[in-house]
């Protein structure tokens, strides 16, 4: 058998819990069990990959058989691969406050139900709440002798409410996810706030589309940091030439007040103690004082592209690691929220996020706010709904005129190539000149 240039195995054994409550009915409270491994083997040119379910404990002989199979796959690959030498290592795990695994499924159901009940206020016709908890034991081994093992429990909930008046229906939603322990206690206020927003939106007018100045709240500006800056700085996209940031390293791509960071070492929802290639995660300053400073990389893209840090490889259990973001944010500036609203004078305040999407090759992004307020003469006036923002990444980065000093991080999930990973986005309030706003008003 031809010897592989390198191989690694990432094995994840896990239990996932999910609870679903729909209009007061406990639809399901389920535990599921999984055991999956992925082996990557570097052939002469390119990777051979084997996904193995029920990996369990394998003998040396069995491992060698998988390596041989992966090498057969690699016989058709054609790409020269060099892996950068990187510092391997693992960070300590954060302390958990209340371990969710020590709380019974029954009690979690009761707590979630309390949050859902709090959303039943006048005008609300439907409420829903979900809880998810995933505990995974990750074991990483590679042919260079690196071995890491860690266990992480991610948990969180979401609550949503639908309000109706006549023919008009609107929804409000709140969610929280974290790695620091059970977060279901004393959260009834979140259910209430989802419901109150849904009711308030019944009287909101559709936003009027056009080009105007906009203030983005921390959540939506965080989505901008993630979608527009983060994805375009992923080393695999840069390497294949599908990022507008390709070849722009060292160039001024944003207003000098802009600093964008991806930091997997923070104890936020996107935290990982070691990346999916055994590399020690590091904080990467993507944009520094408006200048494109560094890309996010794995070992292969770092060797191919340069300019940046490896340690950003992540993969779902059983899937190939890709270059991914973790905790991505715009750093605080020195303006206050009030200054930003006043400086906007006439425009729109966009709040919350219904998600977004980007075409990094074209440099175009789209995202939707949950709601907003018209800004008139430097003050907030009427509430608007269904308002979206699109734009050109590079133009928009130059058009961010002010950053406030009130950064907040928001957890969520990010999809890429069919894989979903936990992330956090964050930002302070920002003022964006000449934003392209969509709406039907």
């Amino acid at each position: 058998m031809e010897e592989p240039g390198y191989y690694d195995i990432r094995h994840v054994k896990g239990i996932s819990t999910s609870i679903e409550i729909d209009n007061g009915v406990l639809e399901s409270a389920t535990n599921s069990f999984s055991d999956t491994a992925i082996m990557r083997v570097l052939g002469r040119r390119g990777w051979g990959i084997v996904t193995i379910e029920n990996f369990g404990i394998k003998t040396k002989k069995e491992i060698n058989e998988y390596i041989a199979l992966a090498m057969r796959y690699a016989s058709v690959t054609e790409e020269e691969v060099t892996l950068a030498d990187c510092r391997s290592g693992i960070l300590p795990m954060p302390k958990i406050k209340e371990d969710p695994r020590g709380v019974s499924l029954e009690e979690k159901c009761e707590l979630l139900s309390g949050i859902e009940r709090a959303a039943k206020i006048e005008g609300i016709i439907n409420t829903r709440a979900n809880y998810t908890e995933g505990t995974g034991t990750v074991n990483f081994t590679d042919s260079s002798g690196n071995e890491y093992s860690y266990e992480i429990c991610r948990s969180g909930y979401s609550v949503s409410a639908v309000a109706k008046k006549g023919d008009v229906m609107q929804a409000g939603r709140e969610s929280e996810h974290n790695i620091l322990g059970l977060n279901l206690r004393h959260k009834e206020n979140k259910g209430l706030s989802a419901a109150e927003r849904a009711v308030k939106l019944l009287d909101a007018k559709p936003a009027k589309g056009g080009i105007m100045d906009a203030v983005l709240d921390q959540e939506l500006a965080g989505v901008f940091a993630h979608e527009a800056v983060g994805h375009a700085s992923e080393g695999d996209l840069v390497k294949e030439g599908v990022s507008v940031l390709k070849g722009m390293n060292g160039q001024k791509i944003a207003n000098s007040i802009i600093n964008v960071v991806d930091d997997p070492t923070l104890h936020e929802f996107g935290f990982m103690p070691v990346d999916a290639e055994g590399v020690l995660p590091v904080r990467t300053e993507i944009i520094k004082n408006g200048v494109l400073n560094a890309f996010l990389h794995n070992r292969q893209t770092l060797a191919a592209v340069g300019n940046g840090d490896a340690g950003h490889a992540r993969g779902q259990a059983g899937d190939v690691p890709l270059v991914r973001m973790s905790n991505t944010f715009i750093e605080n500036g020195d303006s206050s929220y009030d200054e930003i609203i006043a400086e906007c004078r006439d425009g729109i305040l966009l709040k919350g996020s219904r998600g977004g999407q980007v075409d990094p090759g074209r440099g175009v992004f789209q995202f939707n706010a949950e709601y907003g307020y018209v800004i008139k003469d430097g003050e907030l006036s009427g509430m608007v709904r269904d308002v979206s923002l699109t734009g050109d990444i590079l133009k928009t980065l130059h058009n961010i005129a002010l950053c406030a000093d009130d950064r907040i991080m928001n957890p969520g999930y990010c999809g890429k190539s069919g894989q979903s990973v936990p992330v956090t986005d964050g930002s302070p309030h920002i003022l964006l000149r000449s934003a392209v706003i969509g709406g039907q008003g």
């Binding site: 389920t30 990959i49 058709v76 159901c109 929804a171 030439g241 599908v242 219904r354 969509g438």
Partner: protein, 433 residues
């Protein structure tokens, strides 16, 4: 050999399950696949996988419990977990899992005996796609080819045992020309029914065509949505609104509109479970499937139900239970969705043509309001794309738009399990940059 073992295992679980609950059900799925990934125009990754999983559901006194695992040695823990999960759930009216019955003797045409999950078949697809894309000045930045074979079984303690085998072939290609991107894909249950040359050619042509796009003035325009764009928008908004669960929970636009002619009279929307990649004679909880006419000549005629929702709201299951692999509990879904009506030439009069949209998932699923960025947009006239539009944001409301469709194209496109034509609308709001 393996199949026999699995059948014995399913029998074991059902027997033990019957002793612990009123009824028990096992959903089994196994499969294998091979896939290739292009990095630029070179194959960078080649991978193979085998999967195996079971989902167990038990019902006791109207309380439903589920669990799943991909570890065959773990099945007793999984059954135990399903039983304790049932103890927690809210009891509901439950009239039983389905009974055995005779099924139509029909070849669903979802298994290709000529499809083999081997490296040479997959590399052939890649090579043909690359050949299709050659000769343009678009760079190939990525792509994939995958081949799969899978088997699912649904079995319950009433004696239902339904098994189906499927194959699948899928390809995609991503291209760029300067800052203009192109993406195309194709999939089928039969390897001979996908067209790699065409997929490669289209992906490259899209990037090249959109290269020198001109801006569009903000205003009201006639807009044609390609089948892909139609699929993106109805998938995010219209299909969830037709689920009997969302309707009865009053979070659907169609709540209270059964029998209402609130869509264009030329609009027919139905699920045909015997014609397409998503076909099955029994759904994923064993109920015989049937055609569902959601919208008939603009009239809202039916909603879809699984057993749990049907029993709860005094309706009948429409055979609409689907599962996302063995891990998921059954939920209301669709088999093969068709949007149909009188066809005509819709590409003659000048209109904005949208190939795909960016951000369809951010649409408001309850109200139908959306605003999305268009990709590979163009001015369409005299049956052809004339000149590219650089960037445009389209805003509208899916339900309002479907009340008044200007026209449906002659041809439909098969997009996995959704089969739709292009649609023409007038008076939509477009914001230029």
């Amino acid at each position: 050999m393996i199949i026999m073992d699995n059948v014995a295992l399913i029998d074991d679980i059902l027997r033990k399950g019957a002793a612990l609950a009123d009824e028990a059900e096992v959903f089994f799925s196994s499969g294998k696949g091979i896939s290739l990934e292009l990095k630029g125009k070179l194959i960078g990754e080649a991978g193979g996988s085998e999967s195996w999983g079971i989902g167990i559901r038990v019902i006791k006194d109207g309380k439903i419990g589920c669990s799943s695992t991909n570890d065959p040695d773990c099945w007793d823990k999984c059954l135990e977990s399903a039983v304790s999960s049932a103890k927690l759930s809210t009891p509901q009216n439950w009239e039983g899992l389905p009974q055995p019955c005779s099924l139509p003797d029909k070849n669903l045409d979802v298994f290709d005996k000529d499809l083999s999950c081997d490296l040479s078949s997959a590399t052939d697809l890649i090579e043909r796609m690359l050949a299709g894309a050659s000769g343009t000045d678009a760079d190939i930045v990525g792509g994939s080819a995958s081949l799969s074979q899978g088997k699912t079984i649904i079995a319950n303690t009433n004696g239902v045992f339904y098994s189906i085998e499927k194959t699948g072939a899928g390809i995609s290609m991503e291209t760029i020309s300067k800052t203009s991107t192109g993406y195309e894909f194709d999939s089928s249950s039969h390897i001979g029914r996908i067209d790699p040359e065409k997929t490669g050619h289209e992906a490259a042509s899209l990037a090249v065509f959109s290269k020198e796009g001109k801006e569009i003035e903000t205003g009201i325009y006639d807009v044609i949505l390609s089948p892909v764009a139609v699929c993106q928008l109805i998938g995010s908004v219209l299909l969830p609104a037709l689920s009997g669960k969302n309707v009865n929970a009053k979070r659907s636009f169609f709540d209270g509109k059964l029998g209402c002619g609130c869509m264009d009279t030329n609009l027919n929307l139905y699920d045909d479970p015997e014609n397409g990649m998503g076909s099955a004679l029994r759904d994923s909880e064993g109920v015989p499937t049937r055609r569902i006419d959601f919208i008939k000549a603009g009239v809202v005629s039916e909603f879809s139900y699984d057993l749990k929702t049907a029993y709860r709201y005094n309706e009948k299951s429409t055979g609409s239970a689907v599962r996302a692999g063995a891990g998921g509990a059954p939920a209301i879904g669709t088999h093969n969705i068709y949007l149909d009506g009188k066809r005509e030439d819709i590409f003659d009069e000048k209109a904005v043509y949208a190939h795909t949209v960016v951000g369809a998932h951010t649409a408001n699923g309850i109200t139908g309001d959306f605003s999305v960025e268009l990709s590979n947009a163009a001015w369409m006239e005299n049956g052809e794309k004339q000149s590219p539009i650089r960037s445009a944001m389209l805003s509208g409301n899916v339900f309002e738009m479907l009340k008044d469709i200007d026209g449906m194209s002659q041809e439909s496109r098969v997009l996995g399990t959704v089969i739709v034509p292009a649609l023409r609308f007038s008076g939509l709001s477009v914001v230029g940059n």
